[in-house]
Symmetry: C2
């Protein structure tokens, strides 16, 4: 066999084991899953030295990476504790499997229940953050799913060490070790095989990483994908905005953390308040260290701002940069967001209920907020516990993807001998 | 421009119009959508002669088709009335858009609502049944979606005539005509362009047709697909089955209509009741005109049965043929269904609650019934009104896909100035 055939055979074998494990996971009791997760968290703590040593190896090999990428790759004692605590938090969540989502009786007398069930086998494809190995594995397991984890080659040693600890958890309760499967090769062709579905084994692919990775996955996948492509999020300061609120929300939406997908990238300001509240909010942003790229109207009140070009309106900076534009009322704001946005998260700041309702109704983003920061676009803030990401597609799940969103459902129908005429 | 470039330009233009129409449809009031549907139904009736004439043209060109295909293609006055009535029934359904699916408050004080919204633009790819043009267009419109309809070339005249009547409905209320778009070419390359998504225009593809069409769509689509692949449905007669019920459900599940995806294809019989209830059910089936392909144990009690081969256990006959096999209890039945089934619909007939619950829990099909016919796998029987099909995938919607399943959701979050620490 040549290398490609060997890899294919290896990946298909791994897929078959994952599929077999899915049958066990589907029926695993909540207590078993939770005990597994607690044991995995304990193993992460117990094996902290091994994980740090593995991480040091990755870092040594990663000398050519940018500081930002090195930062994502690096683990320390605090990071390991956060990982263990994160797994325990997932264990503490209510079990999402078996929930009765709806139940009704039809005229034929059939009693119909819609019941939450695991999805099956989820392929996770991610980049340099090694902690995804723990997060993704734990969330999938909690929802009764098998995960096939394929992390970036630059974090291969770290991921292997973290994965070893997760497997300790599985061993502690006797769940199949394939329930959290790690792709043991850094060959990029393995990703292509996963995107083909491993012969019908993979039910869902979730990419976690930059736009390049996500775009490739969406373009090439032969199986369903749950993805967050990008977050070009907007804050719209309406003419009837409260000044204190407008300034606080504009600054918080952009500057609390600039690297998250829920960070604001464009500020829209009603012309009526541009010289007053708008100007004040822009000055707050500038003072907080944010670069402002503005249209002509905004630059008229803030001459220090750079001129924006058309690309700025659709750019996800993920940095201390914001595009700013004056608009003439809610309809122009809505039209701008529809044209340039990414259907992730948008905010209107206003005391005018009618304007707010118009904004909330007219737009079609996963999350629309009235008088609150875009940075609330987060599973934990939504009360869902941990999340695997924010879905920006239209199907299955939009917004934060937590353990409930990692389930599907089946219909359980109880009759007493009904046949159809 | 060569022919391929011309077609591409034409399809992309059609996509852009559909996308623009989706913005209008998304906000169309329920009353407008319903008035549109009533006007379309009236136009179908008023233009019955044109539709029948168009259908006659299709039939004339279709001399080489099999009788079954001709039958699917043919329309008569009764069929046209059923189509019009079907559209009126869709109009009478509750509006699925704007439903509050969930609402809760989180510790930060944010009020979070999950609200049903249209999906956007749905591409429907179907074969010879011309009535799908009316059904699919109406269901999509009711859920606030634009549809791009691509019917089979053999029903092109009929579909065009039905589509003209649907457009009359749109004109009556001033909704954009592109809200129900018909692909005006029978060039097969148009399907390929739809599967690529028409430059991000198409949010979802729904194929309706045989396994060949659905497999092609699933293999080639670059956008999400909601599909029913096949229905290898099982009836399992458990040792504790009631005789009357077992016989009635076995015959009804197979023979009421053999051509529907919810028809049973395999009968599993517990060995304990094979010579009694099982034999009686098999004889009922044979008397009703059903061919039986059986394993050795079943042939021992019914020597007239043909021998089944391994392919029979995974065949969707869609005909008066059933595969029959003896099993030793619920675990063997579950294992057989997991191995050979298509995760569509399965039935257990038993008076034993524990056996029933085991069957309903262990299996992972879209629909699991206890003591009722598989032929209840139908949107109308589920109380959902009309359906576009039965989803057998894992994501977004499983089981009957009605107007509610043709929506997605967004989060509407109301605050009073919250920012994140």
């Amino acid at each position: 066999m040549n290398a490609a055939d060997t890899l294919r055979a290896q990946m298909l074998a791994l897929g078959r084991e994952a599929r077999a494990a899915a049958g066990v996971l589907r029926e695993a009791p909540a207590a078993t899953k939770n005990k597994t997760l607690m044991a995995a968290a304990a193993a992460i703590r117990a094996q902290a030295d091994d994980i740090l040593a593995a991480n040091a190896e990755d870092l040594k090999a990663a000398k050519d990476l940018t500081p930002a990428l090195r930062d994502r790759l690096m683990l320390d004692a605090k990071g390991i504790e956060a990982m263990a605590k994160g797994i325990e938090d997932v264990a503490a969540l209510p079990d999402p499997v078996g929930r009765e989502l709806a139940r009704w009786t039809v005229p034929s007398g059939l009693d119909i229940a819609r019941v939450a069930t695991p999805i099956g086998v989820i392929g996770m494809i991610y980049e340099s953050r090694p902690n995804v190995t723990a997060d993704a594995g734990a969330l999938a397991l909690k929802a009764g799913n098998v995960s096939i984890l394929r992390g970036g080659s630059e974090s291969a040693h770290s991921s292997a060490a973290i994965h070893a600890a997760m497997v300790e958890g599985l061993r502690a309760t006797g769940l199949p070790e394939a329930a959290i499967t790690r792709v043991p090769t850094t060959d990029r062709a393995a990703v292509g095989l996963m995107l083909e579905g491993l012969d019908g084994t993979i039910d869902l692919i979730i990419p976690r990483g930059g736009k390049g990775l996500t775009s490739r996955v969406m373009a090439e996948a032969r199986v369903p994908v749950l993805a967050h492509l990008e977050g070009v999020c907007h804050v719209y300061l309406h003419a009837k905005a409260d000044e204190r609120m407008a300034r606080a929300i504009a600054v918080n939406s952009k500057m609390r953390r600039t690297s998250v997908c829920g960070a604001a990238e464009t500020l829209l300001i009603d012309k009526a308040i541009l010289p007053t509240i708008g100007k004040a909010a822009l000055e707050d942003l500038a003072r907080a260290g944010c670069e402002i790229r503005a249209d002509q109207a905004v630059r008229a009140v803030l001459p220090a701002a750079k001129a924006a070009n058309d690309a700025d309106w659709s750019t996800e900076y993920l940095d201390a940069v914001i595009a700013a534009k004056a608009v003439d009322g809610v309809e122009e704001a809505v039209a701008h967001i529809e044209k340039y946005g990414s259907h992730h998260t948008e905010v209107i700041v206003t005391e005018d209920k009618k304007a707010a309702e118009r904004f909330l109704t007219a737009l079609d983003s996963a999350i629309l907020l009235w008088n609150a920061s875009t940075q609330f676009a987060d599973g934990a803030e939504f009360g869902m516990g941990a999340e695997i990401g924010i879905g920006t597609g239209k199907l299955h799940a939009r917004g934060p993807v937590g353990v409930e969103q990692l389930t599907t459902f089946k219909y359980v129908v109880r009759g007493n001998g009904q046949v159809r005429p």
